[in-house]
């Protein structure tokens, strides 16, 4: 078991918000890759299934000092407090329809197991989980473009980003066939990563120092000095995670040169940010 842990991957992502243009390619690539359905009116964003959602952030200043940044938000694949795999959603699912792959760090969602209690959705502060309020329906004939690698979901179950796990499965199949033990960085990339025309998304194994994502994030393997639940905080001062203080330990990291953007990644009491930003990235161990 221990040996397996040493070998374990921890797939994660870093998204450069300065490069992100908010174009929406990642969203569509995700929908197309993962057989996400669509319905007549998708403008109610509270019942519109987009595993990858791009949020628009503003600095709140008035004309002409306004600034905008787009923040793509897939499932954060939280490791939970102390990164033990008890993400907010996994720990609450009553029927074990979602679990933590300790070999990949990926939070699964099994549609055929889920019975639609939606507790996980309540538990997720990122709104990364979506419920199939309707039966998925494609216009006549259009179901022909559905990919067999991802099962279409039925009404009444929760779904979310899987880090395109089927691509990992496919890459591993090839590796098995070719007699290799493991896969290369380029063999497993999510659909959003490959689609991003700005190259803002980098995906790979956070545990592997040769992977680009590790090199950008430089995750701190030790618990944060101010919050023992937080593990894997980035040692790059320009990198942050969403709601890191909650101890969810997401595997999606964001990169921005702009301070106001980094500040919006979490909630701070008055004056707290000024103190924290100076400490950011300098852990006691690092």
């Amino acid at each position: 078991m221990k040996q397996e842990n040493n070998k374990a991957h921890k797939f994660g992502m870093v998204i450069d918000l300065d490069k992100c243009t908010g174009c929406g390619s990642c969203m569509v690539s995700c929908m197309s890759e993962n057989n996400v359905p669509f319905k007549e009116d998708e403008s109610n964003k509270k019942d519109s299934i987009t595993w990858m959602r791009v949020y628009k952030l503003t600095n709140g200043k008035s004309f002409p000092d306004t600034e905008i940044v787009y923040l793509p938000r897939p499932c954060q694949h939280c490791g939970g407090k102390g990164d033990h795999g008890h993400s907010p959603c996994i720990s609450v699912c009553p029927a074990t329809a979602t679990d933590y792959g300790y070999d990949t760090g990926i939070v699964s969602q099994i549609y055929t197991r889920c019975f639609g209690c939606r507790y996980c959705m309540g538990a997720c502060p990122y709104h990364a989980r979506y419920f199939n309020w309707w039966d998925p329906k494609w216009p006549e004939g259009m179901e022909k473009y559905l990919s067999p690698n991802v099962s279409p979901r039925m009404r009444g179950v929760v779904e979310k980003c899987s880090f395109c796990y089927h691509r990992y499965q496919a890459a591993r199949d090839t590796a098995y066939y070719e007699g290799r033990d493991d896969i290369e960085e380029h063999e497993y990339q999510t659909a959003c990563t490959t689609a991003c025309p700005a190259g803002a998304i980098v995906f790979g194994d956070l545990n592997n120092p040769f992977h680009k994502v590790h090199q950008i994030v430089k995750p701190d393997p030790h618990p944060d000095t101010r919050n023992k639940h937080v593990i894997g905080k980035s040692r790059n001062p320009k990198v942050f995670r969403l709601l890191e203080r909650l101890g969810t330990n997401p595997k999606i990291y964001y990169l921005s040169e702009r301070e106001w953007v980094r500040k919006q990644g979490d909630n701070y009491l008055d004056g707290e940010w000024d103190e924290i930003k100076n400490h950011h990235g300098s852990s006691s161990h690092g």
Binding site: T21, G22, M31, S32, N35, K61, P139, Y145, P152, A195
Partner: protein
């Protein structure tokens, strides 16, 4: 033996116990839940062998290489093609969603003939025969010039076939819709001579000064621009964005310079004035200037003094001066024009003014600057045979200079100015300003033939529809254009058997030509379009068909003369129509398409609820402009052209006094038995609210917006 209550009790208990011990309960419980996991109405995709096919996307002028993933013979996903010279693996959301067009509910499934207000399906043979008969009649009457064609673009073999058909028929009336490429050609024609086009080497420039060009809003070749923009960070290149609204490009830029709408030309000339005044121009370059350089300089000093430019544009004088110096002193600066996507209305004054900046700093035909290139000519059509009718008709002058004038002429004359019209791959009844008048003109044309794949606004006005394959079903050459620094010809390949009874438009043209017989038929000697393509691209066919693309040129051309006579005549700046207090300007949103095509259901799904809410369009305005109107409240937007009910989005990123409305909504793709409810009847078509404003001298529709007022709904 008396059967009493206890016997029944025993019977009942025994039955219950028997069933309980048998596997029935367990199995049924299990199976009923498994049934919910495999509801027969939830589709199960069929598995098979995965293969990838390379092709080129021709949804927009970007012409990106795509890789289509297929399961057996079923395409399931479109991705960017790695190492393709245009997009190198990147791909935009519309390209990815391309498969949705294949199965679009509004696709035309077979040739249609209008009967009253309905369409009837007819066979291809009948359809071609009807078209040929009609055309033969026109020719018999001796006015072959009364056949016109509107296509999306000038380049490519299919447009070439249309042009060839018109020419051999005897008509000069081939029109293209306004597009960035057409503006590039107009600018090049005005300043460098006919037959040329302009390209911007954004990925090598260190200072991009964009006059509203939506570098990441779909301008030019979108993915190429996305990449050029993204690489700025590593290259330490700067992007300054000049426009009234904090667009995504402005937000992503190093600096956003808000400017009063419609005054970009003035700012550009103001910058020229500063550069000239401070001797910051490249004197080697200005040596090439012709057509009254000194006259222009004098006009600039007189009309575009700093304070005056500041007053006109709303940009502070110091900022203008700083900007001019920054631009002129950059290693390789480039100034870029074209509001948003660059295919909307434009004035030649603005195009020329911005390009003059490029000419002044001497970046023409230098790496990282602007390239003045010959038009992408790689097609070698054999000489056409013309009969006397054709010669006479083709020699006549065009009915109008641009599409707008054509529409105007048709509407103005009582006799049909045009007898028959072909519309190919474009949707003027939606995307030209004031579509109502366009539809009116279409109504006056006795015979309209559409080659559309979808029953769009224009196809609905047609008398005959000869439906086209989508780009995934056909072979076609796709030349890059739209300001791309590399000139590349890609090959779109059929990745799936045609889903419906449609044809490659090239084939349809060949069939029509053959049916017309005589010299026309002689000019179309090919059996099918595929043969024609191979034939006319024979110079590059081998590598085109093998590699899927050919790079024709990859760098700057030779130095060239600059003609500034248009500006030296001191043209007036176009003003917005009307006299309301506010100005309505169009917003280009990457997630929508503002050309004729509708955005796909997936793309529409990504559109923010601050752009489209239900079927209501959301307009953007500064809270200062709102005057009591509430965020998310409703209002009536009125322009001289009409009014619309809109939802309000109070946005600090809008210049006060300006209202922004997104382009690409308000499609009406529905008839009695065909509709695409996923993309149709959503919001308002902004073109309904804007009328054309023609720039004198150039003849271009230069309406950058329109005056408007807003009141509570």
């Amino acid at each position: 033996m008396k059967v009493d209550r206890r016997s029944f009790l025993g019977l009942g208990l025994g039955a219950v116990a028997g069933i309980a011990v048998s596997p029935v309960g367990l199995k049924l419980t299990d199976d009923s839940s498994i049934w919910t996991q495999n509801w027969p109405w939830t589709p199960v995709p069929v598995d098979g062998e995965v293969t990838y096919e390379s092709s080129v996307c021709s949804l927009c002028p970007g012409s990106c290489g795509i890789s289509v993933r297929k399961i057996d013979d079923r395409p399931v996903k479109i991705e960017g093609l790695a190492d393709y010279p245009v997009n190198d693996g990147g791909v935009c959301l519309h390209g990815i969603a391309g498969l949705q067009y294949l199965y679009d509910p509004a696709r035309i499934k077979s040739p249609l003939k209008k009967n009253g207000d309905k369409f009837e399906e007819i066979s291809w043979d009948d359809a071609i025969a009807i078209v040929a008969d009609k055309l033969a009649d026109i020719r018999k009457k001796g006015s072959p010039e009364k056949l016109a064609c509107i296509a999306d673009k000038e380049q490519g073999s299919v447009s070439g076939l249309f042009k060839r058909l018109l020419k051999t028929f005897g008509s000069p009336n081939f029109y293209t819709m306004p597009s960035l490429e057409s503006y590039l050609e107009v600018t090049a024609a005005a300043m460098h001579g006919e037959g040329k086009t302009i390209a911007f080497d954004l990925e090598n420039s260190d200072f991009i000064l964009s006059f509203g060009a939506g570098i990441i809003e779909g301008w030019g070749s979108p993915v190429n621009c996305f990449k050029a923009n993204a690489s700025r960070k590593e290259r330490h290149a700067k992007l300054y964005q000049i426009e009234p609204r904090l667009s995504n490009t402005a937000a992503n830029a190093d600096k956003w310079i808000p400017i009063k709408p419609g005054t970009q030309a003035d700012l550009a000339l103001g910058l020229c004035a500063v550069i000239l005044k401070n001797n910051l121009f490249d004197s080697n370059a200005t040596a090439n200037f012709k057509g009254g350089f000194h006259k222009l300089a004098a006009i600039l000093q007189k009309n575009y003094a700093l304070s005056k430019t500041a007053e006109i544009t709303g940009v502070k004088a110091v900022d203008i001066e700083k900007l001019a110096i920054l631009f002129a002193k950059a290693k390789m600066p480039v100034a870029v024009f074209g509001h948003g996507r660059g295919d909307g209305a434009q004035s030649l004054k603005e195009l020329a003014a911005v390009h003059t900046l490029n000419c002044l700093v001497g970046n023409i035909n230098k790496k990282g600057g602007t390239f003045v290139l010959p038009k992408n000519e790689y097609l070698e059509f054999p000489d056409e045979s013309m009969d006397s009718i054709a010669d006479a008709g083709f020699a006549k002058s065009k009915t109008g200079r641009y599409v707008n004038q054509l529409i105007e002429k048709v509407n103005a004359s009582s006799q049909p100015a045009i007898e028959a019209l072909f519309v190919y791959n474009t949707n003027p009844c939606y995307s030209l300003h004031d579509p109502k008048s366009v539809k009116q003109a279409f109504g006056k044309i006795p015979f309209v033939v559409s080659f559309s794949s979808f029953l769009d606004e224009t196809a609905k006005e047609a008398d005959i529809i000869l439906p086209s394959h989508t780009f995934l079903e056909r072979l076609e050459d796709v030349p890059s254009c739209a300001g791309l620094a590399k000139s590349v010809v890609g090959l779109t390949k059929p990745v799936i058997e045609p889903v419906f009874n449609t044809k490659n438009p090239g084939d349809a043209v060949i069939l029509i030509a053959k049916a017309l017989e005589g010299s026309i038929a002689q000019s179309f000697e090919w059996e099918i379009y595929d043969e024609c393509l191979e034939n006319i691209t024979s110079g590059i066919w081998d590598s085109l068909s093998e590699d899927g693309h050919v790079v024709i040129s990859d760098g700057p051309g030779e130095s060239t003369a600059v003609n500034v006579s248009f500006l030296a005549d001191n043209p007036v700046t176009i003003q917005a129509q009307g006299d309301y207090e506010l100005t309505l300007i169009p917003i280009d949103n990457m997630r929508l398409i503002n050309a004729g095509t509708t955005a796909s259901p997936f793309a529409i799904k990504t559109v923010s609820d601050r752009v489209l809410k239900g079927s209501d369009i959301v307009i953007e305005m500064n809270p200062l402009t709102a005057k009591g109107l509430k965020d998310k409240g409703f209002a009536i937007l009125t322009t001289p052209m009409g009014n619309a009910r809109v939802m309000i989005n109070l946005n600090e990123g809008m210049m006060p006094g300006v209202i922004g409305m997104v382009e690409g909504l308000g499609h009406t793709l529905n008839t009695k038995n065909m509709s695409n409810k996923y993309v149709s009847n959503k919001g308002v078509n902004i073109n309904d609210l804007i009328g054309p404003v023609i720039e004198s001298g150039s003849g271009l529709d230069a309406a950058f917006g329109i005056k408007a007022k807003i009141s509570k709904a």
